[in-house]
């Protein structure tokens, strides 16, 4: 809350704000929607390189799902076999634009093409992932 209200007691001392909060193993918060996806694939690359046996999860919305850099990230993640999980949080709208006005394909779980995807249709969801 302190960070949201720009206080110096905030996690980023008031310099980050709502979009730029950071803590251990949490690399933000990115204001440029979609940019966090290749960045997340990069964290996965580091995890693999350093033999950490850890994955990196990148979350983005249905609006950001059309960003070109996502597909670039999927491509390289597949080529390099990175331990990356990409999660699209689809709430039906990117700001004021509904999904069918923004996306030629609204089956976001398929947009990874050669990266397998699943569609999870739940409001509250607990997912357990076993780390290899």
């Amino acid at each position: 809350m302190a960070e949201l209200t720009g206080r110096s007691q905030g996690v980023a001392r008031g310099k980050g704000g709502s979009m730029h909060m950071y803590t251990k193993n949490f690399f933000g918060g990115n204001g440029i929607v979609g940019a966090q996806v290749p960045v997340g694939a990069g964290v996965a690359l580091a995890n693999k390189y350093l033999d950490r046996k850890a994955i990196c999860v990148s979350l983005y919305g249905d609006g950001a799902a059309n960003q070109g850099q996502l597909f670039e990230a999927y491509n390289m993640a597949k080529l390099m076999n990175l331990p990356a999980v990409f999660i699209c949080e689809n709430n039906g709208y990117g700001m004021g634009t509904s999904v069918d006005r923004a996306s030629a394909s609204v089956n976001y779980y398929t947009r990874g093409d050669y990266v397998p995807g699943i569609w999870v249709r739940l409001c509250v969801c607990v997912v357990t992932i076993s780390v290899l």
Binding site: A35, P38, L45, A73, N75, M76
Partner: protein, 359 residues
């Protein structure tokens, strides 16, 4: 690694050295800018196993300009990574790798292509330390050739010195010769924060004499410190990258006419070594800046502003002239390209105007 000219020169020194007393001066080590960069990469990758290189053609092709020659063979697939032609994607991945604890060197085949990825350079890398209030460092290097090459046309010839040096959170270096290239790239790789290294394709093949110290694997130059390449008392010339060569050529020509130029090689654009420039202008009272980039909001403009805001302003005998690239997209025809990039005669003319030797 490939045998370099330096190793040949060194073995010849051994053979010739016994005969002549002046041999140590005569057989100086010759090092091309390309080999300087190659050595810097090799030495830093050897020193720290978290340093890795990624970019287009850096591995199996040995580098689009052969800067990374031999590195893939030596370090393998994990540490020298060929990427697809997807700058936004791979620059973002490089930033993520830096956040994850590695020390990536992300190569742009030229900085023109960095425009596709500039969001990651600035928003994902440069601003993160500040936005996280010091929690997250991004120890990444973005490097590649910058500025005009020869006959590559408008979309492949832009200088990004002004754009990148504008942004807080970035360090920006612009080496001229081999010593600069090696020392600054090593410093960039060791730096805990993002550094942009603006190389120059036309300088890659140029050999410069270097000392044994430069050849050592601990040769690092400080970022943010300029070098006075030539001392003079009548006028200060300030330049970066290949324009330093043009400034030095002009200085030699002018010396023949009795004008002594002090030539400053900026080496770094951000931080800019304002102190060295100010002290020089206080001494010479006259200033000409030289750069290949466009005039508006350029490096020369920044230098002028800093001088105006400094004690050196009151020592100026004349207004400053900026010698810059012509304010047009780079044309293709050779004759036009030459006309668009500052040449020796452009600098000589500017100096003479400032010194009121011509109108």
């Amino acid at each position: 690694m490939a045998v370099t000219a330096t190793r040949i020169a060194k073995s010849l020194t051994g053979v010739l050295g016994r005969s002549f007393s002046t041999s140590r001066v005569a057989a100086a080590n010759q090092l091309t800018v390309r080999d300087a960069l190659n050595s810097a990469l090799d030495e830093e990758m050897e020193r720290d196993e978290n340093v890795f290189l990624m970019g287009e053609e850096v591995a199996q092709y040995d580098g689009a300009y052969k800067v990374s020659r031999g590195l893939w063979k030596k370090y393998g697939d994990q540490r020298v990574i060929d990427t697809p032609i997807t700058e936004a994607g791979f620059a973002g991945i490089a930033v993520g790798a830096a956040l994850g604890g590695l020390r990536p060197v992300c190569e742009f085949m030229t900085f023109n292509f960095s425009m596709q990825a500039i969001d990651h350079v600035i928003n994902s890398a440069a601003k993160t330390f500040y936005m996280s209030a010091g929690l997250l460092h991004v120890p990444i290097v973005f490097r590649g050739p910058n500025g005009a090459a020869a006959g590559v046309g408008a979309q492949h010839s832009q200088c990004f010195g002004a754009w990148y040096s504008h942004c807080p959170g970035l360090k920006v270096v612009s080496p001229y010769n081999s010593e600069d290239a090696k020392g600054l790239l090593k410093a960039a790789i060791r730096d805990p924060d993002p550094v942009v290294v603006l190389e120059n394709e036309l300088m890659y093949g140029t050999a410069f004499p270097v000392t044994d110290e430069v050849l050592s694997n601990e040769f690092v130059l400080p970022i943010g410190k300029a070098k006075i390449e030539r001392e003079g008392s009548h006028i200060t010339l300030v330049a970066h990258s290949r324009a330093v060569m043009v400034a030095l050529e002009a200085a030699t020509a002018l010396a023949g006419e009795g004008v002594e130029c002090e030539v400053i090689n900026l080496r770094s654009l951000r931080p800019l070594d304002e102190e060295t420039i100010v002290q020089s202008v206080i001494k010479t009272h006259n200033l000409v800046t030289v750069e290949q980039g466009w005039p508006q909001s350029g490096v020369g403009s920044e230098i002028c502003a800093r001088i105006v805001e400094s004690p050196a302003f009151h020592y100026l005998d004349s207004p400053v002239i900026r010698v810059t690239g012509v304010d047009v997209p780079m044309p293709y025809a050779k004759s036009l390209e030459v006309a668009c990039i500052p040449q020796q005669h452009d600098v000589v003319k500017a100096v003479k105007k400032v010194l009121k030797l011509i109108k």
